[in-house]
């Protein structure tokens, strides 16, 4: 930091002159000793405000600014002019949601450009809602050039089925519903077979069947890296063997925005376009974009019973009640949606999106806790994924 402000401004003026004379940024940097961003900033200042805009004022905090500490002393790397980060909010031209949206659109288009037969796994929940909205944006004015696949366990909430059918109709989409016929034949249900076996047969096996049956080579999924630790390490393009297994040790490196979608016959890829979104991003985006979601996310009076410390909604008469048990009407909502006998409700009065977000931010209990399938061991999700669950 050996330069005076006047010396610096002299260099800035010289840099702008060089740039105007057609000198490259690199050569200008070499001749003035200024860094590339400084040269760019000075040139931009000139273009917008003429020569008066080129010099910078004396360094240091403006008087009266409070609550900020002084900038860190920077080390000059290549030249004796340090870049001092100014402690103001960077006027970035794109917000975090805009950057996330652009990344998701890019991923979806890569898939459609490179896949033989893509499909979107549609679970009817809020993440699926966002994913579908992004797909409509990515291919607009064309409709999403792939069908939706709903692997149905037959135990979803009735409101989910109604919502699904409305969406498909409103947007003119193709929906494939798949139910594992073996599961139906064996009468698999979450009450007598337990959550683990039910999920394995109806969801994991059902998904594999549907993918094999239709020959889909790339399937979009709505998983996010912030949901769970093993997902934090999964690639956006997650390669699966012909047996649908995920091999965490053999993941392909993913650099820049270059995705390798090549595979051999029988192998497939799961693609997670909203990998980098968090739960808050999802809600915020639903709010900003006015995306329709299943009403179960909003609070209402619903009939619930208590099971193992969780509130379960009695959604139809298949729910076995204990002798003398009467469902209680209670103001509840759901933070995640799945099979109704496996999805816990939370007490809530939130009837608008801002209220849901408020509740979520105040609640401080992580999202997946409402889902009973994750309650096993800490590494249970990793194991399920290796077996082909999602």
């Amino acid at each position: 930091m050996s330069q005076s402000v006047e010396e610096l401004n002299q260099l800035r003026r010289q840099a702008v002159e060089l740039r105007l004379a057609g000198t490259t940024v690199k050569d200008t940097a070499a001749r003035t000793g200024l860094s590339a961003p400084t040269i760019t900033a000075a040139t931009k200042a000139y273009r917008q405000g003429g020569w008066d805009a080129v010099p910078v004022g004396p360094r240091g905090r403006p008087k009266g600014s409070t609550n900020t500490t002084a900038p860190a002393p920077a080390i000059a790397a290549s030249q004796p002019l340090p870049e001092i980060p100014e402690l103001t909010i960077d006027p970035a031209r794109r917000t975090h949601l805009e950057r996330l949206e652009a990344e998701s659109l890019h991923i979806m288009r890569e898939v459609v450009a490179e896949a033989d037969k893509p499909v979107m796994l549609y679970s009817v929940g809020k993440d699926s809602a966002v994913m579908l909205h992004l797909a409509r944006k990515a291919f607009y004015p064309a409709p999403p050039p792939f069908p939706l696949l709903h692997v149905d366990t037959t135990w979803k909430f009735r409101a989910m089925y109604e919502f699904r059918d409305t969406i498909v109709e409103d947007y003119g989409l193709e929906l494939i519903r798949h139910v594992n016929p073996d599961g139906i034949r064996q009468g698999v249900n979450p009450f007598t077979h337990g959550s683990a076996l039910h999920t394995d047969i109806m969801k994991t096996e059902g998904l594999k069947q549907a993918l094999n049956e239709h020959g889909f080579d790339i399937a979009f999924g709505g998983a996010r890296r912030d949901e769970e630790k093993s997902r934090a390490k999964e690639r956006v393009f997650s390669f699966r063997t012909a047996e649908h297994r995920w091999e965490p040790k053999a993941q392909r490196p993913e650099l820049w925005n270059l995705y390798n979608a090549r595979k051999r016959r029988g192998e497939s890829i799961r693609v997670f376009p909203i990998s980098n979104w968090t739960e808050l991003d999802i809600w915020q985006y639903i709010h900003k974009e006015n995306i329709p979601i299943v009403p179960l996310y909003y609070s209402a009076k619903r009939p619930i019973v208590h099971r193992d410390g969780t509130m379960i909604m009695v959604d139809d008469d298949r729910m076995p009640l204990n002798p003398g048990e009467v469902p209680e009407m209670r103001s509840v909502r759901f933070r995640t949606l799945g099979c109704y006998p496996l999805t816990g409700a939370v007490d809530s009065t939130a009837t608008t999106l801002p209220e849901i977000i408020q509740e979520m931010l105040l609640a401080r209990t992580s999202e997946r806790q409402g889902r009973m399938i994750d309650h096993d061991a800490a590494a249970s999700m990793e194991k399920k994924k290796q077996e082909g669950y999602f």
């Binding site: 080390i75 000059a76 290549s78 950057r99 490196p253 650099l255 408020q358 992580s366």
Partner: protein, 652 residues
């Protein structure tokens, strides 16, 4: 919560948010919606406290929910290294195998946000064997936090990480001098490390570096200013990360570039080009040029579902329509017309090798750059860079995690830009053609101008003329198979039969090639690839001269046979697989080579300690178990006749 947290402060970074969340959620949402996004990478080994640092950032920004903290508290007791206190590192290490070994072996992405900004952290391992993971994490980062242990100062790995960060072109570097608590918060320790680092970083050309003394374990200067280091008057790490410039001004001001990702054609009235803008900005009315075709037009509309846009900038995913009906497809680049991207087919690059199977010069790989995928061959490895000392050394091949400066050649001219100017058109990945694995990543430096300067000599006497004079269609009959399968014997008989029919032939085999053209080559994988490449080139020239060329080499690798095939025109390569079970070939053993190999006197012998990759769909298959050499040769001649090779081409 059962665990004893040493510094339960949130440092006020979220206090205002908390007030808004509880009191005015709409105001909170409004503010949160306009946050920017910073992606950064943390480098350093577990011993430097990297996971602890990230765990603390997550904890203090309240990303951790109570049930997760409970899990971590329980796991801290089981695996933790902090004697019952919360081991923040356990929050960050994801896969179970890693948790138990106490190391991080992959790239993990973490998310947190403050009042000002949302952050995505790529947490990458520090050891040298994970160079590829670090490069992966660094490729999409806006900033890098390089941790170093104040007790140890700059280590080899600090230098390696700094080199990789500069190689990937990360604009902001933060040197986090950690564990100051163990050095009595001593200012002179910090100053000495900064001084040493400044000198080192000078050589790397890193633009902006900031050094911060901290203790991730105690929380000093992570989110709250340290009271233990009053001599440091700079900002905290989080304070810095909140204020670094996210967007690359230079990229926004650069000439407009958009690789075409997908052509949107829902009906005859609409033709849109979807893609992500890699540099510059674009407005309706701008003059553009489609590369490589060079056709020009103007932008008609920037179409989105939310209505047409006035302007789009680098990073935006858009759909463009053009004023004229010109053709563009996936892989093409739409550029500003006055300053289009460069076009070339030979480049100097730096390649980071990411696969256990080494990179071999001469072997073709798929190269994906922007939205185009082409075949590329490394023509030479100029040198390998020692990532620890930055010294350059000669290399025949690149091993896993090696970095080398290489010349590459693509099979066609592609639009590109130098990586330093535009990551989107200068960064590429290499894909193995057989396994489809991503085996390498690279950065283009510049085009080797040879493609522009050396024009093929236009000749008046062309191949069809020469072929007509010989009354045949020139081709390569490429015999492949195990040693002792009978390739040379059969090729020899085929040549005699063709000569008897009046055809012009030439037989290339080990005897006339290994002793002359290729006498400098041995039997390593790299040399075998080069051997076949040269034979392929010579065979290509002979085909051009009008000959029917017979080659008899083991040529065990599919990718090299594919390379030889690519050197001649479609239909001129006749792969002839001489199939013999290994046991039969070994029993014949005409030159006694199998016996030598079995005794270990001959290394890399195909079928014994080096693989033979059988052709998947050869043009001709002869099974020498079922027929004699004479019968096999007759079969080959019959197939050549059937393919029309034994009659001259029709001339106009």
């Amino acid at each position: 919560m059962s665990a004893n947290i040493t510094t339960p402060t949130t440092g006020g970074m979220q206090d205002e948010s908390d007030r808004l969340i509880a009191g005015d959620i709409d105001a909170y949402l409004e503010r949160h919606e306009h946050k920017s996004l910073l992606r950064f990478i943390t480098c350093g080994s577990v011993d430097d406290g990297k996971s602890t640092l990230i765990g603390r950032l997550l904890y203090e920004s309240k990303v951790l929910f109570e049930d997760q903290l409970d899990t971590v508290a329980a796991e801290s007791k089981k695996f933790g290294t902090q004697g019952g206190n919360i081991d923040f590192a356990l929050l960050v290490d994801g896969l179970s195998a890693e948790r138990e070994q106490g190391i991080t072996i992959d790239v993990a992405y973490r998310f947190f946000s403050t009042d000002r900004r949302k952050f995505i952290v790529a947490d990458t391992p520090g050891h040298e064997q994970y160079t590829r993971n670090m490069v992966t994490g660094a490729s999409s980062a806006d900033a890098a936090v390089i941790l170093c242990d104040a007790r140890a100062g700059l280590l080899t790995q600090t230098r390696r990480h700094s080199y990789l960060v500069s190689l990937l072109g990360i604009r902001h570097v933060v040197l986090a001098v950690n564990k100051m608590d163990l050095m009595r918060w001593d200012e002179s320790v910090f100053d000495a490390i900064c001084e040493e680092y400044r000198e080192f970083a000078q050589g790397l050309g890193i633009e902006s570096i900031t050094a911060i003394p901290m203790s991730a374990l105690e929380g000093d200067n992570v989110t709250t200013p340290s009271t233990n280091m009053p001599w440091y008057r700079g900002t905290t790490l989080l304070g810095l990360l909140e204020t670094l410039k996210v967007e690359d001004e230079a990229a926004l001001e650069a000439p407009f570039r958009m690789p075409v990702q997908w052509v949107n054609r829902p009906n005859l009235d609409f033709r849109g080009y979807a893609g992500t803008i890699s540099a510059g900005s674009v407005k309706p009315g701008d003059a553009i040029r489609v590369q490589p075709s060079g056709r020009t037009s103007t932008i008609a509309r920037i179409v989105t579902m939310d209505g047409d846009k006035e302007e789009a900038i680098a990073g935006d995913a858009v759909t463009l329509t053009l004023a004229d009906e010109i053709d563009a497809s996936r892989g093409d680049v739409i550029s500003t017309s006055e300053e289009p991207a460069g076009s070339a087919d030979q480049f100097e690059t730096t390649i980071v090798w990411m696969h256990e199977e080494p990179m071999l010069a001469g072997r073709p790989y798929l190269l994906k750059l922007g939205t185009q995928t082409v075949t590329a061959t490394v023509t030479s490895i100029r040198h390998e860079v020692n990532v620890n000392t930055l010294e350059e050394a000669a290399a025949r091949q690149l091993e896993l995690n090696s970095i080398g400066v290489c010349n590459i050649k693509t099979d066609r001219v592609i639009p590109f830009e130098a990586y330093a100017d535009n990551k989107g058109l200068g960064g590429f990945i290499l894909i193995d053609r057989l396994t489809n694995a991503t085996v390498g990543a690279g950065m283009l430096h510049f085009a080797l101008r040879r493609a522009d300067n050396i024009h093929m000599q236009a000749v008046d006497v062309a191949k069809p003329v020469r072929a007509a004079m010989k009354n045949q269609k020139p081709c390569v009959v490429w015999f492949t198979g195990l040693s002792g399968a009978g390739k040379s014997t059969i090729a020899n008989i085929v040549e005699k039969k063709l000569a008897a029919l009046g055809h012009h032939t030439y037989l290339l085999d080990g005897d006339n090639v290994r002793h002359g053209l290729n006498k400098d080559l041995g039997f390593t994988d790299a040399d075998r690839v080069e051997n076949i490449r040269r034979i392929g080139e010579v065979a290509g020239l002979m085909v051009d001269s009008g000959l029917i060329v017979l080659t008899a080499f083991i040529s065990p690798f599919r990718s090299e046979r594919a390379l030889a095939r690519s050197l001649v025109a479609e239909g001129e390569f006749i792969e002839t697989y001489v199939e013999t079970p290994l046991s039969v070939a070994e029993e014949r053993d005409p030159k006694g080579l199998y016996k030598k190999a079995r005794r270990g006197e001959l290394k890399n012998f195909t079928g014994i300690d080096s693989p033979y990759e059988a052709p998947e769909s050869p043009e001709i298959l002869v099974d020498t178990g079922a027929m004699s050499a004479e019968q096999a040769a007759e079969r080959v001649v019959a197939e050549l006749r059937k393919a029309g090779m034994l009659e001259g081409p029709e001339l106009d």
